[in-house]
């Protein structure tokens, strides 16, 4: 017997980089091409409701990022144990817990924001983006990938609501992050010059208009057509 040692070609798969190309796409795709608001048209309610001013919008965006990324991570960890028949309830329970924790933290450290956003923080539970990503991605992918996916979707949501809030606060209240931009600009041009604010921007109608314009601009550029 020839002691032929068959060299087994041991395939060592190179470990995928923490931010490999595929993983980067998980984050960048939802920013433009798969944007949850402008392409998938999810999470519209909160983008109309909280975007009158930049500051609450930023708090809302951070809360959503936290909830979506973490719930994707947790659900992905549990995905093989979750009983199929009650999976939606399990997902809801996890999301609701995270949302409540966010709300408790805001109550402790940013009480004014807590009062202002109050019900909308709670309503993150019903934000379609959260459940949508859990069902579409986290139930079938690994935890780290799922977290990145959630992060991407939440960032895609965040930059849209922040853009909407920027224009609504600027035109509706004449300020950005509470800084009275219109007053400063008016002063530059003398006493008779007065920049007027538009009350329409403060109402949800203003958000519809801005959001519509963003969708229009984006779809013109990317050539996206709904089927």
């Amino acid at each position: 017997m020839s002691a032929e040692t068959v060299e087994k070609a041991i395939e060592i798969k190179p470990a995928e980089g923490l931010l490999s190309k595929r993983r980067k796409r998980l984050i960048t795709d939802p920013l433009i091409d798969e944007n949850p608001i402008t392409i998938q048209v999810l999470g519209i309610c909160s983008s109309l409701a909280v975007t009158t001013q930049m500051k609450p919008t930023l708090v809302m965006a951070i809360s959503v990022i936290f909830v979506v990324a973490l719930s994707n991570f947790v659900i992905s960890l549990m995905r093989n144990t979750i009983p199929g028949r009650v999976r939606i309830i399990v997902q809801l329970a996890v999301v609701a817990t995270l949302v409540t924790i966010v709300s408790e933290i805001l109550k402790a450290f940013a009480y004014d924001m807590y009062k202002e956003l109050s019900v909308f923080i709670g309503l993150i539970i019903t934000n379609c983006i959260v459940m949508g990503r859990l069902e579409a991605f986290a139930m079938g992918n690994k935890p780290y990938d799922s977290m990145l996916d959630g992060l991407g979707s939440a960032l895609g949501y965040s930059w849209i609501i922040l853009t909407v809030a920027f224009f609504r606060e600027l035109w509706g209240s004449g300020s950005i992050f509470g800084i009275r931009v219109f007053d400063y600009v008016s002063k530059l041009f003398g006493d008779d010059f007065h920049l007027a604010t538009n009350g329409l921007m403060v109402t949800p109608v203003g958000a519809f208009i801005i959001l519509g314009l963003i969708v229009w601009v984006q779809r013109t550029k990317t050539g996206y057509v709904e089927h």
Partner: protein, 251 residues
């Protein structure tokens, strides 16, 4: 994959326990900070009756606390205007919302006295809490009376769940400013309080007991009216004692 019923029930049970533990744990852990935030918010509301929202907004939490302790004195009175001191009650600890369920005679009534900085004798105004029902949920606030015990110096109003854009407008400075300078007693010294009327955009500057309403929010406005007249009524003994004391001092 189809799991057995037992698996599903046990899974749900364990999940509920873990999540419940997380929730109560975070509430417990954050409790002290939350209590601090709520106490600070209450001070801001009380101060809101006498200084503008912008001034308060510009203050840091430390400045609010310092301003409050230098400029606000407080006491607790009963329905007869007598000061209550037993049991270590302080005005800040009286929970108006809880006492609201008791009959008016048994409640405690905190009074916040706005005075010149560091000099509790130089009173600028008296601030009384208000509590009542709006259209959907509770509404509350603080009303400041000038030292004549008749003219409203300022008011803050807050709500738990009034309709945004309609009843929720009671929190707007513009709506609250309508109360400034109104009188709560008529010429005969009878308490009439101040009523917010139906409709919006009329001029009430010549009417000392009426203010312009909020369009589309008449029920909230009625709630504000009820709370103002009932609480000013509960405080009337105290108010009269202060105004007669001043009349004596003025002679």
């Amino acid at each position: 994959m189809q799991q057995s019923n037992t698996y599903i029930i046990v899974y749900s049970g364990v999940l509920t326990i873990i999540l419940g533990f997380l929730l109560s744990g975070s509430a417990q852990f954050l409790g002290p900070w939350q209590a601090e935030s709520i106490a600070l918010d209450k001070k801001k509301q009380i101060l809101g009756a006498v200084i503008s929202a912008e001034e308060i907004g510009a203050m840091t939490p430390e400045q609010v606390n310092a301003f409050y302790s230098n400029n606000i004195a407080s006491s607790v009175v009963d329905i007869n205007g007598k000061e209550v001191t037993e049991g270590g009650v302080t005005a800040e600890n009286v929970e108006i919302a809880k006492l609201y369920k008791k009959p008016a005679e048994e409640r405690l009534y905190p009074v916040f006295i706005y005075h010149e900085e560091g000099n509790p004798d130089a009173v600028k105004s008296y601030i009384f809490p208000l509590y009542g029902a709006g259209l959907w949920d509770a509404i509350w606030g603080y009303v400041a009376l000038n030292t004549d015990m008749n003219t409203i110096g300022g008011i803050t109003l807050a709500h738990a769940g009034e309709t945004p854009g309609l009843g929720a407008r009671i929190t707007e400075p513009g709506v609250q400013a309508r109360y400034v300078g109104k009188k709560i007693f008529d010429e005969n010294g009878e308490l009439v309080a101040v009523a917010m009327k139906k409709g919006e955009g009329k001029d009430y500057s010549s009417k000392p007991h009426e203010v312009d309403g909020m369009s589309g929010a008449t029920i909230t406005a009625n709630g504000v009216n009820n709370m103002l007249s009932s609480y000013l009524g509960h405080y009337s003994a105290y108010i009269k004692s202060k105004s007669s004391a001043q009349a004596v001092a003025g002679l």
